[in-house]
Amino acid sequence: YRDLHTFELQAPTRLIEWARGSRVCVAGYGQSDGNEILQLIPPPTLLTKETQGLCPERDFKVECGGFSERPVYSLKYVPDTSLLVTSGPPDSSLQVWQVSAEDSDVIKSVSPIATENGTGQSWAKIATISARAPWVLHGSRLDRVQITEIESRKNVYTAAPGGSEELSSLAFLDCNTLLLCCAAGRLCLADVRQPQSLVEAVSAPLAPCSEQWCMGTRHGAQGLEPSSQPVARLSSRGLLTLTDLRKTSEFLALAKARVPSPGSGAEFLCVSWAPALEGCLAISGFDGTVHVYDTQSWDSSGREAKPIFVHKGHAFGGAGGSGDPPLVTVHTWHLQKPRTLLSAASDGSLHVWDWVQPCGKC
């Protein structure tokens, strides 16, 4: 490590979202009522480019917070507004919140966005964009995907039915293109301007037993065509596929991560690309570790890949041996510092770490 900071949140979080002004947002997902949404100001050490060893302000500060009556499973800020959207069980409706840090330190609840609740619907996955207007893309299943304009609550897009599989995540590739990832592995593309078209981009890779998948998209540097960035998919068995959306007939790369088997479920599966390192991605959700891989050496053979770094901090955290070992719930990359990541685990720990590139590579 070059640097490691460990913090303890009052309640564990399964999301870490970046907000304007380098703020970080976390939220509780516990069963009972009284979950908190916290918008944090990171310590100055994390905001500067150079690492300072000792610094007076080494702590996160809670800038503002809100109280949610339901567990918060997903949270997304709405760009160019002071709003954020959350979702969580028991149904697929969305909660909208207003953040006004200058006036008050309470994140206020604004009226929710209701959705029609069919049977067996779980919580909605969400993505936001503010291109034509502040929009939120949401849905828990492939046939329930829609885009709602936040201010007017109008439905501006509904995806054509293409199956009733559950979704694991969705994203805006640009202001017109949507990418949907099904839990079973399928990737579908849709164009907002053509509501009837829902194209299966990549089918689910064949697998002997059912596994869950999640995806990670990369927002490349300005000017780059978003669909030129490869999409990574991670399965609950540790399989990783990289696909170029322009050439979906074949995998760019296929590899297997060394993960404990059987996986402890797909609840917290997370794969993400490094914003400032070419070809680097991180995975977590199998145990108390976060793996970092360099995909530039990968091919389509499906061989086991060796991580270039493993963060084990969360596994050692915990209150010595009481109960289950902590499970990493989410991780995210720092937007400017190339090798800094933030990760959270089920025991409430929040780690910020900066790893050293092993010798021989640059």
Partner: protein, 590 residues
């Protein structure tokens, strides 16, 4: 002002008693603004009459720095309460600060050494968990607060109303102190520090690791490390940390602790070993944790010795004294390092170098070039939001009041406390008065006879539900008693009044009076089957104790007037009878 700096001084009025909590000095100001404005307390300035006592929570100057000014210059002769370690260490810190302010800075409007001594004569030292009677009605009790040696949280009680003041406290133990603890005393109000409530702290392990790394690196390359400290508190913590590290890594470089103030401090820590945490007390028998193997007393000459070393020196902000002397000697060498322990007041050398200044003007217009590395660390031990919630959970107050340095927006924490504990939470600004309504319980003695009688009436009492009883409340000479009405009358020498109501009911009946009476009697007998209805020889009817008589109307023979008369106790039956009779008599009566 910054988070570490402020002055604490809170005035509480409880059941007619006035208590002052802490008397701090603001280190950021150089004029009278550094002292609290005592004119807030009372306009006529006679503080000794107005205040019942003053309580000091711990020896940090922002909690006790203005005490000599308050007691000797403004004027207060009443009792001042603090724990034993605080009483022992306070005067040392006060004298040190006085020396620097007056001797070095040449200030005039400041308290003198004699004033400090006179002030301390008014101090009454208390033990933990000892109930101290300030006067007949006011009592106080100290609880362990962690934070620094001798820091305490105080419970102030008058009758059954109480307030708990936390001062500065810490809910997590550290290397030499335990965590704060209080019992479920259920005070009407808990006053808590909340300056660090919004921070989520970096783990101690990481801070310590970084600190040790820096020290180690410097020493390994032959450099010298200067750590200016405030003498007490964190200094001991860091000593233990370095001692353990040196032992583990088998390091040979010397560590020094500068003389004077800090030696006395170590001496006091040893004396008050019971105030430290469990682990230290346990190992004390085998080895005194404050007797260090690797840490020795410093001599001025050592600063010129070649080779690596670590020196703890006072004062903490490099504003004068030994630490500044050493700093001047070592500043020019880039292999050396100075690690500043905490907040530095503006104007001090410490503040300047932390702001990045590398050329300092010293006395005699000499310029000092600072080439040594400047680092900053903060190991402050205050409760964060989680800690505050823990304390509230332990004490179970009915109301919470949060004290904070600046007028920060703390709406979120206020809501959090209110939602979780269903209590009211207040956060007044400096100079603001908050009034909290309490529901005091007043104990009343009930006479045995009354208790027995009342519990015998009605259904069997349910243990969980309140039972309504009737009695007479006698208030005499500050005692409250509940007795039966008869006993009350007897005791007070009063006779019981009898109230009798009479009502006239007009009934149309041309017959003779005795016939009307008979009609009424038969009518009532038929209806009131469960009651005793009697026809007396003198022509009147009784229903239980109610009397009914009939007379002819003076002007109209066809109308009879029924007099219905009853006592207050039979009010209900009486009104019922009256309304019944008003409805008229049935025609067909034999």
């Amino acid at each position: 002002a910054g988070q570490d700096v402020g002055r604490s001084c809170i005035l509480v009025s409880l059941a007619g008693k006035n208590v002052m909590l802490d008397c701090g000095m603001h280190m950021g100001y150089n004029d009278d603004r550094r002292f609290p404005d005592f004119s807030y307390i009372t306009q006529n300035g006679r503080l000794t009459d107005f205040l019942d006592c003053v309580i000091i929570s711990h020896f940090h100057l922002d909690h006790c720095g203005a005490l000599p000014y308050f007691s000797e210059m403004v004027g207060y002769d009443g009792p001042i309460y603090m724990t034993h370690p605080t009483k022992a260490i306070c005067p040392i810190l006060l004298e040190d600060y006085r020396k620097i302010t007056v001797d070095k800075k040449g200030e005039t409007n400041f308290f003198t050494s004699q004033m400090i001594k006179d002030c301390m004569k008014k101090v009454v030292a208390v033990h933990l968990h000892q109930t101290v009677q300030v006067d007949e009605e006011l009592e106080i009790k100290a609880y362990y607060a962690g934070h620094v040696l001798g820091a305490a949280m105080f419970q102030i009680k008058v009758g059954c109303e109480s307030v708990v003041y936390t001062g500065d406290y810490n809910m997590t133990p550290d290397r030499h102190l335990g965590a704060a603890w209080i019992d479920k005393c259920r005070p009407d109000l808990l006053i808590s520090e909340s300056t660090y409530a919004t921070t989520i702290r970096d783990s101690k392990r990481c801070r310590e690791r970084d600190f040790l790394k820096k020290v180690h690196e410097t020493v390994e390359r032959g450099g010298k490390v200067l750590i200016p400290v405030f003498a007490l508190g964190r200094a001991q913590e860091l000593c233990i940390l370095l001692e353990t590290f040196w032992e583990r890594m088998n390091l040979k470089a010397p560590i020094y602790f500068s003389t004077g103030l800090t030696e006395k401090a170590n001496h006091y820590y040893k004396l008050f070993i019971t105030w430290t945490n469990q682990k230290i007390r346990k190992t004390f028998v085998q080895r005194n944790m404050f007797e260090f193997k690797h840490i020795k007393a410093f001599d001025r000459a050592f600063a010129d010795n070649p080779g690596p070393m670590v020196v703890f020196a006072t004062p903490g902000m490099l504003h004068a004294g030994q630490s500044l002397q050493i700093f001047r000697k070592w500043a020019g060498n880039e292999k050396n390092m100075v690690i500043m322990p905490g907040y530095c007041v503006q104007g001090t050398v410490g503040h300047k170098i932390l702001s990045g200044q590398r050329k300092l003007e010293m006395e005699g217009r000499q310029i000092l070039e600072v080439k040594m590395q400047v680092e900053y660390m903060s190991f402050s031990a205050h409760a964060d939001a989680k800690g505050i919630m823990q304390l509230i959970r332990q004490a179970e107050p009915r109301n919470v009041l949060l004290v904070h340095g600046e007028a920060k927006k703390m709406e979120f924490l206020k809501q959090k406390i209110e939602q979780e504990f269903h209590v009211s939470c207040y956060m007044p600004a400096n100079g603001e008065t908050t009034t909290i309504l309490t529901n005091p319980c007043i104990p009343v003695d009930i006479s045995l006879g009354l208790l027995k009688r009342e519990t015998a009436i009605g259904p069997l009492p349910d243990a969980k539900k309140p039972k309504l009883m009737h009695g007479t409340l006698l208030m005499k000479d500050n005692s409250f008693r509940l007795v039966s009405p008869e006993q009350a009358l007897k005791e007070l020498g009063l006779a019981e009044h009898q109230l009798r109501f009479t009502c006239r009911v007009h009934v149309q009946d041309p017959r003779k009076e005795h016939e009307t009476v008979l009609r009424v009697y038969n009518h009532l007998k038929g209806i009131l089957k469960d009651y005793s209805v009697q026809h007396l020889p003198d022509g009147s009817i009784t229903v239980e104790s109610i009397l009914i008589q009939a007379t002819a109307h003076s002007e109209d023979q066809g109308t009879k007037v029924l007099l219905v008369s009853w006592t207050y106790q039979d009010e209900e039956l009486g009104s019922y009878l009256t309304s019944l009779l008003k409805k008229g008599l049935p025609q067909s009566t034999p």
